[in-house]
């Protein structure tokens, strides 16, 4: 029943190092692609492998967020979906077509906002929009596009005079000019003030509600939590968590941290709590925060121990995200 507007299987992308992307692409489909995806150590050969075997899909009408540390490979992935680069291995399809070879058929139906795109600094906002509009098959009225991002009062301002956030919004308006069915937004709210960000969120929700499918990348966890129907967290070219925000969060342990008074060794703690000792704290990771916290507090009362700096946090997307930075690559595959 659910229609997928984006499908990605075994996607890999390597920068530099011989192998022609186009040639590798034809061979790297199907079984070969999947097998490659399991091979360890991405950059043994020449060049650098930024994307190391991705599988995911985006359904029609949903907001899909791609998160990850700097250099995780988000932009590298999105560029392949946009048809700006060829995959080294694996296949991607957008609206059932190959974004690279069927570019002429795909482009009129998608909208793209790059992480770092630009417009001529000596043109005004309206002139920029007119230029862009002339390159769109069925453009939205310029005035309407500018209103959508609250830029109509900047219409006669030169691009070089715009603030960073205003430029970002102009960029978004241009991505919306062609009534896209699928929208790719690479860090759309980076550099926006809190109010502009809220407005962009509202706009993205409106677009989604009217049937637009949106794939966005972001570094803001609250943004992903609030906007995304589903999300994936990337690390070093791989997806390490994926699902709805609630699913990803639920897969994370909650955390209890505290300090023990001098003279009380961590070994005295109930074994069932599986506490870990760090330089500055004791930490308990648990899937069952309430029971474990109760057990800890009972133990403390019975033994007359004061737990200094006691802190109990339920799992959040932030925890999931921060966890990745600490994790060793062996932890991956927690899909």
């Amino acid at each position: 029943m659910t229609e997928h507007v984006i499908e990605v299987t075994g996607l890999r992308r390597r920068y530099g190092g011989g192998g022609s992307a186009a040639g590798a692409k034809k061979k790297g489909t199907g079984i070969a692609g999947a097998a490659l995806g399991r091979k360890r150590g991405g950059d043994d050969g020449k060049g650098f492998e930024a994307v190391r075997g991705l599988d995911f899909s985006v359904r029609r009408g949903e907001v899909f967020a791609l998160l990850g540390t700097n250099g995780a490979g988000k932009t590298s992935t999105v560029e392949v979906l946009e048809g700006l680069a060829a995959p080294t291995a694996g296949t991607v399809s957008v609206l059932g077509m190959d974004p690279l070879t069927d570019r002429a058929a795909v482009r009129p139906r998608i909208g793209i906002m790059l992480q770092e795109g630009g417009f001529p600094s000596d043109l005004t906002v309206t002139e920029t929009a007119r230029m862009w509009s002339g390159c769109v098959s069925e453009p939205r009225p310029i005035q309407e596009a500018l209103e959508m991002v609250d830029m109509e009062d900047r219409a006669s301002t030169r691009v070089k005079m715009l603030s960073g956030g205003e430029r970002r919004r102009l960029d978004l308006a241009m991505a919306l000019l062609g009534y896209p069915e699928v929208l790719f937004l690479d860090e759309p709210t980076t550099g926006l003030d809190p109010e502009a960000r809220q407005q962009t969120w509202a706009l993205i929700r409106r677009l989604r509600d009217s049937g637009t499918s949106i794939m966005l990348t972001t570094h803001y966890l609250d943004e992903a939590e609030k906007l995304a129907d589903r999300l994936a967290i990337m690390h070093e070219g791989r997806i390490v968590h994926a699902g709805t925000p609630a699913e990803v969060t639920a897969a994370q342990p909650s955390r209890i941290t505290f300090r023990l008074p001098a003279g009380v060794a961590p070994a005295h703690l109930p074994v069932s709590l599986r506490a870990a000792e760090y330089v500055d704290r004791i930490e308990i990771r648990t899937q069952n925060l309430q029971d474990d916290l109760a057990e800890l507090l009972l133990w403390a009362r019975q033994n007359g121990v004061v737990l200094d700096q006691l802190n109990a946090r339920t799992a959040s997307l932030e925890e999931a995200f921060l966890d990745i930075a600490r994790q060793q690559p062996q932890y991956e595959g927690a899909l």
């Binding site: 600094s121 069925e138 939205r140 309407e144």
Partner: protein, 283 residues
């Protein structure tokens, strides 16, 4: 920012779009859409050219200044030594100047500027094809150059010691091939140019080679045969040979040879564009 809760429609209108866009855009006619995109891109580019003083100066005044320079110093420089009169050399050289300055030297910083501002990269995410994007940047400079060429030929024809073009067909072929070659060469040169400012330097090699070897300031038949033979195969010389053959009916060389050479250099420049051109400031 005022917190107006305007709610512009996010849906594509189900009827024909209210914009003035072609109502039958569904059934795409490649030629028409290409023209529409090209005109949008070149219109923006023309605005940029007009707003950029130094670019406009280079495209409009520099060729004029050079012609004025030759007019005052032509005899001292020995321009008339050879088969052609001073006026004939200046008239045809002026067309060469326009090609080299209004097209080649003007377009290098244009391409570099669009690349460094990531405009090319952004445009490439849209519906326009690569060729349309590159052509769009070139159109205003090419049009300005064509107008200048027309004015030059008109003025030259009225000059007492010159006449109207003897072979207009050859003249047009020479000018058109020269334009194409200069645009392609500018695109290639931009790939080796980091900043808009350094375009003044990267333009020099081809510019100087063209000036020295194409008979624009010394007539080739006054040179030793071996030197003249080498000069005749340099990139810009066949273009000038065609222009001279077209205007004066005195190419001095074989017209077919010049045509083939000009085509070969243009094709080579086209290949170099495919090989070296960069869309993105990041390599």
């Amino acid at each position: 920012m005022s917190a107006t809760t305007r709610q512009p429609s996010t849906d594509r209108p189900t009827t024909a779009p209210p914009a003035a866009g072609a109502p039958a855009a569904k059934r795409r006619m490649p030629d028409r859409t290409t023209l529409r995109r090209l005109s949008a891109l070149s219109r923006a580019e023309l605005t940029l050219l007009v707003r950029n003083r130094s670019a406009l100066f280079g495209a409009l005044l520099m060729p004029l200044l050079m012609v004025g320079f030759l007019l005052t110093l032509g005899d001292t420089l020995g321009l008339g030594d050879g088969n052609l009169s001073v006026a004939a050399v200046i008239g045809t050289s002026a067309i060469g100047m326009v090609l080299l300055m209004a097209v080649y030297s003007t377009l290098i910083p244009a391409y570099v500027g669009r690349r460094e501002e990531r405009v090319l990269k952004r445009l490439r995410t849209g519906e326009a094809t690569d060729a349309e994007i590159l052509t769009g940047t070139a159109v205003p400079a090419v049009l300005l150059a064509l107008i200048q060429c027309a004015v030059l030929i008109g003025a030259g024809s009225a000059h007492p010691s010159l006449s109207a073009p003897a072979r207009p067909d050859l003249l047009i072929i020479g000018v058109v091939l020269g334009m194409l070659m200069m645009v392609l060469m500018a695109i290639v040169t931009s790939a080796f140019t980091r900043t808009v400012e350094s375009a003044q330097i990267t333009a020099l090699p081809l510019f100087l080679i063209a000036m020295m070897t194409s008979g624009m300031i010394t007539q080739l038949d006054t040179l030793p045969d071996t030197v003249a033979d080498i000069f005749r195969i340099m990139p810009f010389t066949p273009v000038m040979d065609l222009v001279r053959a077209g205007w004066l009916d005195a190419g001095g060389g074989d017209v077919t040879r010049a045509l083939l050479l000009a085509l070969a250099w243009t094709a080579l420049a086209g290949y170099a564009v495919r090989r070296w051109f960069r869309w993105d400031p990041r390599q």
